[in-house]
């Protein structure tokens, strides 16, 4: 083993070399790799027949920029939240996907000049008379959907800190769905997206003027200034010869604001925005963000401890129903277990959170807590199927003689199950159930798909904002361990205990 340890530093050197000069590397390889998230949808990136060269205005922009470098462009799909991580990891040369120019992102990255001028548009239901202009947001309580960690979220938090509560959605259209279904009062989204999806949401309308002018830029790793300069030259060329305007007109996103892209003032924004200090790092960046991470850890714990008991209860009832219930219950319960086990948790959460509101109206109180209700119900239902199988095995492990002895005493079936069979089965399944609890604990991270910001989601946000993913990942992992390790210990102790008693 030790003989091969020299491989590690060697590999590191190679890695550093690869990162040191992306421009030469791109040319050598003949490919410019760029990361984005197709899920964001039209008109940014639109899937085409060739997964590596999607359409959309960003897809076409990247093709044109790559062409100028004399290489092909190659698209790499990645969750929007994690594009920063993908770039740092070296998996792509650049990331491009409606990512705004932001000072904190420039701490660990560099960016090209803006390629698009982006405004934000407020969308609400046309028949909602309470919300007809920006001034209405100054009073009352509003719930407004945004993409998490975007300029839209920051704008609302800064301008309406008291009256607006933002909800973080994984996608633009999901927030629009929830405005349509009256789960949200409004959504603040890129003007581009608002325009593109106008026809799909006829019940929504534009409220007030666009706000929060920002710029879309291409981000690169800080070492890749030469590649950045080439890309800048490419964008300038396309601005000058009208190719950029042609692409934007094709996707119906050209507007007067785009004429400012040629202004030296606009083009120098990244230079001016670059923060003077490198930002804190090491233990300081951890300490500075510990409180906000800890807060999200509480969310993770709450989700787990609220959903697991429900899962256990439902699971036990399902198992009892399948083994001892009336015959007509058995088939439906078996189908329940198989369907729930056979479909991903993410999909189940989506169905609960995005499909149900479009089918049934619900009172305001419920709407406010709907994400939490869906998260807890979704986790409980998902895990109940696994608990049901565990309990089934546990119940089957109890000797038939136990049931007979209790019945022979004159006990009813119900008494026998409740007093004799279930207590013994519970002892048998405790270690397995505790293990599942640890698994559920980590699965809570899926709930970020339905606007709940728990520890994993918080990691993405804080890592992006600080540009220090290493420290933040370490802190997050430690928090997870602090919470799950006691559970592991408990599981192990219980396992020993049950073995000793050998019930």
């Amino acid at each position: 083993m030790g003989r091969f340890l020299w491989v590690l530093p060697a590999l590191l050197c190679i890695a550093v070399q690869i990162q040191a000069d992306a421009l030469d590397d791109v040319r050598q390889r003949g490919v410019l790799r760029w990361g984005g998230d197709e899920e964001g949808g039209a008109p940014y990136i639109i899937s085409s027949n060739d997964a590596k060269t999607p359409a959309g205005f960003e897809g076409e922009l990247m093709q044109a920029l790559a062409q100028r470098l004399g290489v092909r462009s190659e698209f790499q799909q990645c969750q929007w939240d994690n594009l920063g991580d993908l770039l740092r990891s070296g998996g792509v040369d650049v990331i491009v996907n409606g990512i705004e120019l932001r000072a904190d992102r420039l701490r660990s990255n560099i960016s090209t000049i803006p390629y698009y001028v982006n405004d934000l548009q407020l969308l609400a239901r046309a028949n909602d008379k309470r919300l007809t202009g920006w001034s209405d947001l100054k009073q009352g309580k509003w719930r407004i959907g945004v993409l998490s960690d975007t300029a839209a979220e920051k704008y609302l938090v800064e301008v309406y800190p008291q009256t607006v509560k933002t909800e973080s959605y994984p996608g633009t259209t999901q927030a629009m769905d929830h405005v349509r279904d009256q789960q949200l009062d409004a959504t603040l989204t890129d003007l581009i997206a608002a325009n593109t999806y106008r026809d799909r949401y006829p019940t929504l309308h534009f409220v007030g003027e666009p706000v929060g002018r920002g710029y879309f830029v291409i981000y690169l790793r800080s070492d890749d200034a030469r590649l950045r300069d080439e890309l800048n030259a490419g964008i300038r060329d396309m601005l000058a010869d009208g190719r950029l305007q042609a692409i934007y007109e094709k996707y119906k996103i050209w507007n007067e604001a785009q004429r400012t892209l040629g202004d030296p003032d606009v083009q120098s924004t990244p230079e001016r925005m670059k923060p003077a200090d490198a930002g804190s790092r090491g233990i300081r960046v951890i300490l500075r963000n510990l409180l906000v991470l800890g807060e999200s850890a509480t969310v993770t714990v709450l989700l787990s401890v609220l959903s697991m008991p429900l899962a256990i209860l439902i699971g036990l009832l399902v198992a009892l129903g399948r083994l001892y219930g009336p015959a007509i219950l058995r088939v439906p319960l078996t189908i329940y277990v198989e369907v729930i086990r056979g479909t991903p948790l993410m999909l189940q959460l989506f169905v609960l959170f995005y499909v149900i509101p479009s089918l049934i109206p619900m009172p305001d109180d419920l709407k406010r807590n709907f994400a939490w209700i869906c998260a807890i119900a979704g986790l409980a239902i998902n895990y109940s199927a696994y608990e049901a199988e565990i309990y089934r095995a546990g119940l089957l492990a109890i000797p038939v003689g136990q049931m007979e002895a209790a019945l022979a005493l004159g006990m009813t079936r119900r008494q026998t199950l409740l007093r004799i069979i279930v207590p013994q089965a519970v002892r048998i399944v405790i270690p397995a159930v505790t293990n599942d609890f640890i698994a559920l604990f980590k699965d809570t991270s899926v709930c970020s798909a339905i606007t709940i910001i728990e520890l994993s989601k918080r990691y993405s946000i804080v890592a992006n904002n600080t540009g220090r993913p290493l420290e933040i990942a370490l802190a997050t992992a430690i928090l997870y361990m602090l919470m799950s390790y006691p559970l592991s210990l408990l599981a192990r102790r219980l396992e020993k205990h049950t073995k000793r008693v050998h019930v």
């Binding site: 007979e404 002895a405 022979a408 009813t412 004799i420 008693v501 019930v503």
Partner: protein
């Protein structure tokens, strides 16, 4: 008190009981002996309603057990007729005392305080007054079987069915259990005992009943069965039992 007539029990194509008739008087001790697979245990399990049967009739006192009994009448029957199993089947998650209290509390709906004096008294009677708080797995087989007997007695049944109560025990422990059963016989408890302990059957039973191939081959007082058996199958069985 217990009367069985023309009882037929089939498992698929296999006929386990083929027209068994038998009557047990109040206070009578009936030992059921015979070769393995003769239907002895199945007969007891039918009387307690743990097995259904296809034809015939079982009556306990005034309670008639049909071939498709409902839960309510089964429970009434089982309160009157207790059962003790070969493998004891104590509840492992309860203390010895709680095992004995299970019947009074859950079946007779007594409070713990109401039921405890009798339970303790019964455990003392079977010689386990010192083990009230022990767990079943801490007891020897013989002790466990004696707890099982106390558990069955705790609901004050009129009769108890013993299904090979000593077959899982070594001889010394078997004797502990048999002496408890003998003691019960002296108190005039009605009992049906499936057993391979011939000495016990001879000494304690009022009637010995030989079962083979799903029928009652013959029955009579122990002296007659053991000394002057009428049936060939009885002679063969007794000879075999004596040599093993």
């Amino acid at each position: 008190m217990i009367s069985i007539s023309h009882l037929v029990k089939r498992h698929g194509t296999l006929t386990v009981l083929n027209g068994v008739s038998m009557a047990v008087r109040k206070g009578e001790v009936v030992a059921i002996i015979g070769p393995s697979g003769g239907g002895k245990s199945t007969l007891l399990r039918c009387i307690n309603g743990l097995e259904t049967f296809q034809d015939g009739e079982i009556t306990v006192d005034t309670l008639k057990l049909s071939s498709k009994p409902d839960g309510e009448s089964l429970r009434k029957l089982r309160q009157r007729v207790g059962m003790v199993f070969q493998q004891f089947h104590l509840f492992p998650h309860m203390s010895v005392l709680d095992n004995v209290l299970a019947g009074p509390r859950y079946v007779l709906k007594q409070s713990r305080a109401e039921a405890e004096p009798l339970a303790i008294q019964l455990l003392e009677r079977v010689g386990l007054g010192e083990k009230l708080n022990a767990r079943p797995e801490q007891l020897s087989g013989g002790q466990q079987q004696r707890v099982a007997i106390a558990r069955a007695l705790a609901v004050k049944p009129e009769a108890i069915l013993f299904d090979e109560p000593t077959s899982a025990l070594d001889p010394r422990m078997a004797n502990e259990v048999l002496s408890v059963i003998t003691d019960l016989a002296e108190q005039h408890l009605t009992m049906m005992v499936v057993t391979h302990a011939m000495g016990f059957a001879r000494k304690v039973a009022h009637t010995v009943c030989v079962m083979a191939e799903g029928r009652v081959a013959e029955s009579g007082p122990p002296q007659q069965i053991f000394e002057a058996p009428n049936q060939e199958v009885t002679k063969r069985f007794l000879l075999q039992a004596a040599t093993t």
